[in-house]
Assembly symmetry: D2
Homo-oligomer: 338 residues x 4
């Protein structure tokens, strides 16, 4: 049983609280929110929890082993740092921090103190991504060639964040999780179609050490909602349509084959091959519940975070590089030098 | 009645011959192919035509008013130049020439001689593109924001041409036709996944003077065939799925609205709006037949080529710039300076 | 403000309670359930309501103007009768009663007492059915030819009810609402594929006075969930796919045209005609909320029940006839004689 | 090498001729058509064939081993009978004859003479039906529960034939081929929506000895073209959508499981089970080519007709019974007694 406190009782907080409270591996011992109205709400929902507006008081409690941070991103760094220094394990909402330098500092701190630092990229715990990870890890796709992701819909333009920061964290965490690599180069092109200065359309293009290419189409200006990802390997290919009800993932036994041309050693004969398509059953798990259980087991040293601080740091570094590329008209930037 | 000769009786030639012969506005008076086997084939299909392997002889005939060139692209420049110098109108297969400099020379020549020079971008004459042109020209979409096109399938890798030159001419001619502008900047990123050195995956990104952005996903390495184009305007948006049988074009009465924020003159309030979707009936025309009729009317001075030499030249210039950007790792190139 | 009491606080009851309590036109003054555990639940959810296990006590209260009955169907007749005799308006869950004779008695009673008797066929108040009713009533479909409905999925076989009684009430209420007619003949064929004796597959076939035919495919044994209805008229046709997210209703400007054949007065020349397809925007209303408001206005005499007791009686009569036809191997039964 | 003659050179005849001529197992030695214009056409297409209007002359030739009959159905009986009596094997267009009594006579005659009598139900030789037959025969579906087929589109109303005779032969031959049984009962309900008296909408319902139910929705009055068949078995289920390009057949690893209820020996506990979906690769065969080869091998005694005279007779008997049921308002008729 891991005893947890929750900071931030806004939109996402109550969902986290409910999952922490109902999970047999975890207990919700405290909730902190600066707003009195939200404190009252939290107390009503969680009658036995210590509810407060005083974060210092919460951190001083010995019965809090882990802190879950669900505040606006601007407060992540300060709250996570204080929690780590108070000896608590930390699960923080995505993105881990505003700046990658802050995230790097938190990662080093957690490592020095021997504490868990994890980032809440909930998508990684859905049934679909769990199945995709199995498929990619099994090697049956062969060598990964490219990943193309479309995440578009008619969305409210936001004044304080562009479509890159709104939508890309989902895709970046999923792709990083699936391929287990950090990109070498980052490129992003965008457009701002309202007179407001935030991009509502962004294309992002990443190259990985293995030769894998990942491309993202992110838009708030599409008439239909699309959440579709293509994963092309040498042996098999996947189309993942997250809006499909019953057949979200389709695995195509299709690919290209290469053989030396008999006429010449210099030529390669390339052909393609088609076979069955399989739509595997997706496990029906509840993502947040799976994530809280996993975090609890990480706190107890039984598992290693799927979405660690370093994982979250990489996501922020890619976002920063993409944002810089956007400002430079789509320049191809080396991530290592950023 | 416009009397035409056809050069090149390979894959596409017989289709052109059949359309020329059956159109009441045109007659097929001659066919030229260097291969004797193809000459015999042509003569069998077209018993009354003068069939030859001698292009000079064909060009010397007074009863040939126009020449249709359907040979490999390497011969386009030489054959078209000779035809124009012989006083014939010319319709040449896409792309017009290998190099833009050659195309520019042909355009100037045709203009000086007062002859028609047209390029066979057949797609422009399909019912779907005809309907799209009406929709865009009517202004009901409002200001065009962006066009996103996906043209992918599992295709045979080719040794002599990359996926850009294989697939992009279709999209470039369609977008140019719809928006009537030439892009300002061109960017292309690609990957070559077989050991052969030709790209099998290319993303191309164009910016137009009006602020319009066009983006293209071209691939031979996708498990499913996709031909889908999104056209987003201020007032309405279109999704064109060319593989749909009955509802190829869907017009969404959706868009964003901008209004000055009441609290501050500096802010713009942006909201979105959703309404009906209309899938208009697509005219059932046969593209090649429509194109031959149009070319005949151009030869008689009754119409102006939809797909002129200059139009074809622009397509080649964009391809050249994209190819150069590919070689420079996706650099953003100004088309004007090329 | 119409003051209502609710009887039955099981699965559906809390939803009704929440809608009654939150609607500005209605107030929830009392709740009755025989189970103490459900009473406690109801009191927690509705702190100001009079919660009881004593139906007589509830009926005796002067501040209850209307009763909403959400108990198992076996109790409907008794509870509704008592409520009417106590001078309360009644809204009862579908089906109105087990037997049509009971329903007929309730209808007569309500009419004699001048009270509202309505049946909760919630589907009629969805945005999709509201839009369908507009389309059919406007006459733009022309004469209605046939309605074909498929409502299938992989469902738990039930021991106490067959697929006809489980699924058909939805379709029957929708079709009756749309066409405003009672069928003349009823036919039903079915099969029971488990050793249990309840049908898991039923086809029902209805003929209406106008010549309209309605056909229903109801199954618990299909691998995919389908909710699709075709409505064919002389001038236009509709396909309603209730599982579609964004384009539930498609109106096809297609139909047949009949003209006297010129050669003979006895022959009719029939041709078909195709045009645009329109997917109208569906109003985003919450069905239960709309229904409660409508019932309140009926109680106040401002509106007439869309789904009256007589309407619910017709549904039960058709079900009874279909069940009898099932037992007679699909015999075609006249509804009037039942 | 089987030498064949073809009778009837209308719409379907030239396709048969091309396949007979190009198949290495067959040769086209003669063609018969009463119309001189069609004779000229046939001679041009098949320069080495004996083309005639005199059927007797054709039947008298010793070099004709088999006759393929592609005339209007009214002539089938007479031409097939004469061919059999002349000692020729026969492949006749569907339906085999107008009346089942004629078909029965031809079957008996062929059997007595030791000749092959086959019916051209081409659909059975498509890649999709070949794959379906494999899937059903393998037993992996378990016990077959029901087959539901929808074959609708906006079609030209015909004066001389109703939608039953136009469309049902396809479905009946496919279902008979898949299940290898003859139905016990036949029911059909229909409607005629134009003032012409031929049904444009028919529902047909068949029950088989094994308990299998097959249901067909046939219509000329639907706004969209649908060719969709559901095959539900105990263990697996299939959805076959013949208009799908790449995934025509989907095999769902879904079904119901039955176990004796522990509480009572009389009760059966029924549950459902969901698993993967597989869309197997469909062999890309050309149906008519496969059929001609099969017929040739039947003539040489190497294979037994998939679509024999008896098979075609069963199709006609079911059509006759369905037609009679239509006239009797959907009465359930025993096929054995017809």
């Amino acid at each position: 049983m891991t005893r947890m406190a929750l900071v931030g009782y806004g939109y996402w907080g109550p969902k986290l609280a409910r999952n922490i409270a109902s999970n047999p591996e975890t207990a919700l011992v405290g909730v902190c929110d600066l707003r009195e109205e939200r404190q009252a709400h939290a107390q009503r929902d969680n009658p036995t929890a210590f509810v407060t507006g005083d974060y210092d008081a919460l951190m001083a409690r010995d019965d809090v082993q882990a802190v879950v941070i669900a505040t606006p991103v601007a407060a992540h760094y300060r709250l996570a740092r204080q929690a780590l220094l108070a000896g608590k394990h930390v699960l923080v909402e995505k993105p881990i921090t505003e700046k990658s330098s802050e995230a790097a500092e938190l990662c080093a701190l957690a490592e020095n103190l021997g504490l868990v630092l994890a980032v809440d990229h909930t998508f990684l715990f859905t049934g679909a991504v769990t199945k995709l990870k199995q498929l990619v890890s099994s090697g049956e796709l062969g060598e990964l060639y490219y990943i193309d992701s479309v995440r578009v819909n008619l969305g409210l333009f936001q004044h304080d964040v562009n479509v890159l920061y709104d939508l890309a964290p989902h895709d970046l965490s999923i792709v990083s999780h699936l391929v287990g690599q950090t990109p070498v180069t980052v490129q992003a092109m965008g457009a701002c179609h309202a007179r407001a200065c935030q991009e509502n359309l962004v294309y992002m293009h990443l190259e990985y050490p293995s030769g894998l290419v990942a491309h993202f189409h992110l838009s708030w200006l599409a008439p239909v909602k699309i959440r579709k990802t293509l994963i092309a390997g040498t042996n098999k290919m996947i189309v993942w349509d997250d809006l499909e009800q019953s057949e979200k993932i389709k695995v195509y036994d299709k690919g290209i084959t290469m053989a030396p041309d008999e006429e010449s050693l210099h030529n390669i004969k390339i052909d393609y091959r088609t076979g069955d398509m399989l739509a595997p059953k997706i496990p029906g798990q509840e993502a947040l519940s799976a994530e809280i259980g996993h975090f609890a087991r990480c706190c107890r040293g039984e598992e290693t975070p799927i979405s660690s601080g370093r994982f979250g740091l990489d996501v922020v570094r890619i976002l920063e590089a993409a944002q810089q590329s956007l400002r430079q008209g789509g320049a191809r930037l080396e991530l290592a030098g950023m």
